[in-house]
Symmetry: C2
Subunit: 152 residues, 2 copies
């Protein structure tokens, strides 16, 4: 019945499935970040968008979509909430009537230091007890796994 050799087969249990562990870890990260940035009036979904815009304002929705790797519909909804919450405004593109550019409000600009510090704390807590070498190994493995799951 079994197709592969017992020698090479990986026993599938929840706790040793990378996918399961990754999902759990991501939820723990999100909970921790949520707790840190809630006092600033921010939430986890808006955070990557803010990071992208703090780096370069005036991007289009399409640019944010490709940069952050979420679906267009997800981004549209997230931007709507951010506009509602006074984090961004949208301006018409001068040459293309389909396009809108996204700009930070003063409030959002003022949150950069506090927000990145909060996220840095979460990262540090997550990486506590790891040597700098291990932390770099972890980051490198993350990149490779992301690369593997990204092609096609």
């Amino acid at each position: 019945m079994r197709q592969t050799s017992p020698m090479t087969e990986r026993d599938f249990t929840r706790t040793c499935s990378e996918g399961y562990q990754v999902n759990l870890m991501a939820r723990l990260f999100a909970r921790a970040l949520q707790a840190q940035i809630k006092p600033l009036g921010l939430s986890t979904g808006t955070f990557p968008v803010l990071l992208a815009l703090w780096e370069r304002e005036g991007q289009t929705q399409r640019e944010l979509v490709t940069e952050l790797g979420v679906e267009q519909a997800t981004m549209a909804n997230t931007l709507s909430r951010m506009e509602r919450d006074g984090l961004i405004t949208r301006r018409a593109h001068e040459a293309d009537a389909r396009v809108q550019t996204v700009w930070l409000t003063e409030r959002a600009k003022g949150l950069e230091q506090a927000a990145t510090a909060a996220a840095g704390e979460v990262n540090d807590r997550a990486m506590a007890g790891l040597t700098e070498q291990e932390r770099q190994t972890f980051a490198a493995l993350l990149s490779r796994v992301i690369g593997n799951l990204s092609d096609h």
Copy 2:
């Protein structure tokens, strides 16, 4: 203005934030798993519950909650969908009227082989190009990070 020394400070950019990378990786895992198990009529949220029940049937909602690390409300909703979709049934506890035990339907029992194989394929694709040693390192680092974020 900056509190910490420039020598030890970690420049906070999206692509080098562990939290950001972990979130991205988890979404890629979920997309891949979703594609694999959709033909079986399963979805990502039901999957961990099925794994727990394939291991031991008849658990209570509370047991599943502590075992899988989701909130009670999340589990209640997930179990409702699973009941609706004919994956589980619930029976009253013989001694405690507050408690229900959760049981797999015949359909759910029959899906174990195909579903774990599908998840195994996703894991293998994600880990492609990693040596067995690297794969173990990754798993060990995942556990440590999960541990760090779990206390308190």
